[in-house]
């Protein structure tokens, strides 16, 4: 019984501890990367302890809503997939603006003018394929061909923030539009779950082709997985994994230090070491990745994506017959 009381007291006292030297981080990065980021930050700031929670973007949002409703405390910093979600939060007044000195090293398009959020990486979505596959796709349009029928896996916009942005960008691209998605559905594309599932399916060979974020494919390729990655001809969509400070954060100072850290050269070098393209200007891409200027980024309107988010999800659900 005393263990229970202890656990109860510990968990209820967490908010109290937070005001000391604890920072609460919610992130949708893979576990390993979140761990490395936190480790590096704590090494640079030994007086601050970071507690982090990792989950898919949608789940994180749901969790945060529930916690705020319950009055059970909230995170201090967010480091999640896409700017659209954070733009939404900023418009709801749930973020705190911060003018980071590190912003000078960045393209203004990559951070909120008011300082609500800052991009930390460039994660593009392209096509991954199993090296044993019969075809090597070169463009998004290739996926509509009959040779690819029943062989494609893709992440679901209902689950993954990156997939939602991918959907918004492609459907607004005159060369592809909603017809592309309808064609994918007709080609029996399996669109379920997140990027992790897509990678597993392609690496396993169940679905030789997939729509996937770049780092997952290239990192695995470097470790010997039988996969390879293509930056399609029409261009790639991208998410930038922005960092933001929550309104009502218990430890503003520590949160600001965190933001500065991930945006600093040191923080961005860590990004490179982890196998992502850094957002900061003038830094080298990691091995196996093309240089930043060599990648065609598809046009993307974040505000429009935010406004259309629900409608897009609904239409997608209809096309793919998701209940």
């Amino acid at each position: 019984m005393s263990r229970l009381t202890l656990a109860l007291m510990l968990s209820l006292s967490l908010p109290a501890l937070a005001s000391a030297e604890t920072l609460k981080l919610y992130t949708s990065q893979p576990n390993e990367d979140a761990q490395k980021t936190v480790d590096a930050f704590q090494a640079a700031n030994p007086d601050i302890t970071v507690e982090w929670v990792r989950d898919g973007t949608t789940q994180l949002m749901a969790r945060m809503t529930a916690e705020m409703e319950a009055g059970a405390g909230q995170p201090d910093v967010l480091l999640i997939a896409d700017t659209v979600t954070l733009e939404g939060l900023a418009q709801e007044g749930k973020l705190t603006a911060y003018d980071s000195p590190e912003a000078e090293g960045y393209d203004p398009a990559l951070y909120s003018a008011d300082g609500y959020y800052y991009s930390t990486k460039l994660i593009t979505t392209g096509i991954v394929y199993n090296t044993g596959a019969a075809e090597v796709p070169a463009s998004w349009a290739d996926l509509e061909k009959p040779e690819y029928k029943g062989m494609i896996a893709a992440p679901s916009p209902l689950y993954s923030g990156a997939a939602l942005i991918h959907l918004a960008a492609l459907t607004n691209n005159p060369a592809l539009g909603w017809e592309h998605y309808e064609a994918l559905a007709a080609n029996e594309t399996v669109a379920q779950g997140g990027n992790g599932g897509v990678f597993t399916a392609v690496a396993a060979g169940e679905k030789p082709y997939g729509v996937l974020v770049d780092f997952m494919a290239l990192r695995a390729k470097a470790e010997g997985s039988p996969v390879d990655f293509v930056f399609p001809a029409e261009g790639v969509t991208y998410v930038t994994e922005p960092v933001a400070i929550m309104a009502g954060a218990a430890n503003i100072e520590a949160a600001q230090k965190f933001v500065d850290f991930v945006l600093s050269e040191e923080g961005q070098q860590l990004v490179v070491d982890m196998g992502y393209i850094p957002a900061r200007n003038g830094m080298e891409s990691p091995e196996g990745f093309p240089a930043r200027h060599g990648i065609t980024l598809m046009n993307f309107d974040a505000a429009k994506a935010l406004a259309d988010a629900e409608a897009n999800k609904a239409r997608f659900a209809e096309i793919f017959g998701v209940q």
Partner: protein, 565 residues
């Protein structure tokens, strides 16, 4: 005229009756809260939600799928479980203890790990098959991503329930019934078919009902195998709705949960009915249990049984282990490529694993101990002081276990999110503990009830006549005699709770992750290799714990080891 109160009603009894209050609140409170939510209690009472949700095509499809997979899975469990039960209980095959131990292992391994292991074993990328050169060509669908795949794994996962129930029933058949048949001229198969089988049917039916209900509420297997195939069952439908749409669909989800609940209750009642009939005519007869000799067919039967164990237990586990040893997913396992990198990373580098192990072990132990302390007086109360209230609680206490963990989690969130005095339990270990207590109460209660039911009431009367009061009687007489059953229940609760996923999947937050949640997260973010490593470590721990219990069996009182009876 003296009022006809029971001769023992004094304050100790009233104190015990107070036990019913917290039990009722924790075990049933969340369910009732959920029921209320489904009918709009709190906003406006309406059947609108219910009507709308039940009318949807997605609901009906999911219901059909659930009934189909649970039904065929149960049939498969019956075939497997009863074959093992008949052979183990009635014949003279060797190494029974080892066989039973191996059969029990799948029951203790969480369903999503089972699914993971089987997925690694089959399909075009199976590390195992690739290494053996037997992998099917690229692009072949994973055969398990189908209704039949789900049914197959459900059948194997729950075969042990049928085994345990049927074996208990077979042990009650006295040897002289069979001797009478043989003297009358019946031989071999005839004896089995015309004497043993009819007498064991009630037990078999009870086991089948329990299996059906469990299969219905299973989340892990349809989640791993059904979602990729777009084959939804009621539990996965609930999960997807909740995850995709956020908190606003709680009312809808409540209705879906009620649907499962109704089917589950029907199943539970059916099982109860059959169990009552089982006792007819066989109670109180104590003689040598049955034992048929297999003669020359014995090695063949043993070969078949062990072969089955090999394919359903060893092969998937081997697949799981092989996947944990490759450097990146999709790479074939060879002596050169084998590495412990994933093991090191997930077990030693990531603090979340240590936390999860600590949390899971703490929660499982706390749940087991608290339930032991609660269930002995509770079972005694239900047996000796049965009232309408205790009977109602008895009937309802199966629900939190029968319903999918997702549902219980939602119910707990609703019930414990906003408590008086501004306390909330959301995001704490406590809410997970309360959910476990609610869910596993029945796992502890049933064995203890059975043990107390078999206690001759005269023993307590003798103690009363010797001068011992209620508290003393409970401690000196009831507790020691029901302790083996309670210990067996505690072992079962611990092993099941330690790798529970579905409930904690929705209740966890930073710091309160459980093992099941971590595996799910790893798999979700594409770290299948690490997920496999962690899963293998858990399986190893579970098997080690089971082995410790098994090896101490000779020193423990009879009935403590749950699978040896």
């Amino acid at each position: 005229m003296i009022a006809s109160t029971a001769p023992f009603s004094r304050s100790p009894d009233r104190l015990i009756s107070l036990l019913l209050l917290p039990v009722g609140l924790i075990a049933l409170g969340p369910m009732l809260r959920l029921l209320g939510e489904g009918f709009g209690v709190g906003s406006e009472l309406t059947l609108g939600h219910a009507a709308e949700v039940l009318g949807r095509a997605s609901t009906l499809t999911a219901l059909q799928h659930s009934l189909f997979t649970a039904g065929t899975g149960t049939l498969l469990s019956i075939v497997i479980g009863s074959a093992f039960a008949f052979v183990v209980a009635l014949t003279d095959i060797r190494a029974k203890a080892a066989l039973v131990f191996c059969l029990m292992i799948p029951m203790m391994i969480p369903p999503q790990i089972t699914a993971l292991a089987w997925m690694q074993a089959t399909g075009p990328s199976s590390v195992l098959l690739k290494t053996l050169g037997l992998a099917p060509p690229l692009g072949s669908p994973q055969p398990l991503y189908s209704a039949w795949g789900i049914s197959l794994l459900l059948g194997i996962q729950h075969a042990s329930i049928i085994f345990l129930t049927l074996r208990a029933g077979l042990r009650m058949i006295p040897g002289d019934l069979v001797e009478a048949a043989r003297i009358s001229g019946a031989r071999g198969w005839r004896v089995w078919a015309q004497i043993v089988l009819p007498l064991s049917l009630p037990s078999l039916a009870a086991g089948a009902a329990m299996t059906f209900v469990t299969a219905l509420g299973n989340f892990g297997i349809p989640a791993m195998l059904g979602i990729p195939a777009r084959y939804s069952t009621l539990p996965t439908l609930i999960y997807q709705r909740l995850v995709g749409m956020g908190q606003t669909v709680l009312a809808e989800v409540a209705v879906l949960a009620l649907l499962i609940g109704v089917v589950a209750i029907a199943g539970v009642l059916a099982g109860r009915l059959f169990l009552q009939r089982r006792a007819y005519g066989l109670v109180g007869l104590a003689s040598q249990p049955l034992s048929l000799s297999l003669g020359r067919k014995r090695p063949l039967v043993e070969f078949i049984l062990w072969g089955f164990i090999f394919f359903t237990l060893v092969v998937p586990l081997l697949a799981l282990v092989s996947t944990s040893l490759i450097p990146a997913y999709g790479v074939p396992l060879t002596l050169d490529t084998a590495t412990f990198k994933a093991w090191v990373e997930v077990l030693f580098n990531q603090p979340v694993t240590r936390r999860a192990y600590a949390n899971s072990l703490l929660l499982a132990s706390a749940a087991a101990l608290i339930l032991m302390a609660v269930c002995i007086p509770l079972a005694w109360l239900m047996q000796r002081r049965a009232t309408q209230l205790t009977r109602v609680i008895d009937a309802l206490v199966d629900l939190p276990y029968a319903l999918p963990g997702v549902v219980l989690a939602i119910a707990c969130i609703l019930a414990f999110m906003r408590l008086p005095f501004g306390i909330t339990l959301y995001g704490t270990l406590t809410i997970i503990l309360l959910a476990y207590l609610s869910r596993f109460l029945v796992v502890m209660l049933r064995p203890v009830q059975a043990a107390i039911g078999q206690l001759d009431p005269a023993m307590e009367e003798a103690a009363a006549s010797s001068g011992a009061r209620l508290g003393r009687r409970l401690f000196d007489i009831v507790l020691p005699l029901s302790a083996p059953a309670a210990a067996a229940g505690a072992i079962l609760v611990f092993l099941t709770a330690v790798n529970e996923l579905t409930v904690s999947a929705l209740l966890w937050t930073g710091g309160t992750e459980t093992l099941g949640v971590v595996i799910f997260n790893l798999e979700d973010s594409g770290d299948t290799v690490m997920a496999s490593a962690l899963a293998t470590s858990i399986v190893a721990v579970v098997i080690a714990l089971m082995a410790i219990v098994q090896l101490s069996a000779s020193r423990l009182p009879k009935g403590t080891v749950p699978w040896q009876g």
